[in-house]
Symmetry: C2
Subunit: 151 residues, 2 copies
């Protein structure tokens, strides 16, 4: 397990790469679709064929959820990764059954929190790639990181 | 079932309000947490107590997923709601077990798609409220809407 990171441990240009990948199955796509994004192209191969996606595709929110798991595994913030807002999320191409996703995150900015003096805000851009190294999602997300406890 | 909407049906200032609400249970929070956001405050009441959230709280990505379901139910786009990117997502306060969420969406902008001449892009701001009418999430999301077929 990697060391837990405090605000002082982050710097602009710092990079994090997921270890291993997340394989996305048709079953997971359909289960998530039924619960959270019940549209034909997220539920059924045949129904997807006649749609914008020309087949079964993962909900963009499933991709975002899988990326959150990869981020939590990859960037271990002391006390947990607390989201402080998304600035951008772009779905570049569909995620299909059998795709394996991996991420590369880069720190774009760091600043002290105005509301919470015991925290800083880390601004990151995360690129998500499939097994062909094609980008499938780009996101810019801020999270909180606690300042190191004073001794 | 509401009428399916084409690009020409949308206008700036148009509002959509979810019918009914989405109740969030501790079971759903923990299940989503285990799959996509495995951090103590999304998995276990006792572990959450000592955390930033002071208790069990829904992953922000679970809230976003529930809101997608409410949006799909509320705004019925012809051919389905295809995300064209998120411009902002802010989690304003935690979603707790037993909360019931509802949404209010407003159209902020409409434009023709540059890449896809058969589609327009609808820019919407969606506010999510809990059962006490407190805002829990604010989002600005673009989606595609098809132009009406020419006769």
């Amino acid at each position: 397990m990697a060391q837990e990171l405090y605000f002082e441990d982050f710097y602009i240009g710092q990079k994090f790469t997921s270890i291993g990948g997340a394989k996305v199955t048709a079953e997971e796509i359909k289960e998530f679709g039924q619960k959270y994004d019940p549209q034909p192209f997220h539920l059924d191969e045949a129904a997807g064929e006649g749609s914008f996606f020309k087949g079964l595709a993962a909900s963009g929110w499933l991709t975002a959820a899988i990326v959150m798991r990869l981020r939590v595994q990859t960037i271990q913030v002391a006390g947990g990764m607390i989201g402080a807002g998304v600035e951008e999320l772009r779905w570049i191409q569909p995620v299909r059954p059998g795709d394996t996703l991996r991420i590369e995150s880069e720190v774009l900015g760091i600043r002290h929190s105005q509301n919470r003096p015991e925290f800083g805000v880390v601004r990151t851009r995360t690129m998500t790639y499939n097994q062909r190294d094609e980008p499938v999602m780009r996101g810019v997300v801020n999270f909180l990181a606690p300042l190191k406890p004073k001794r």
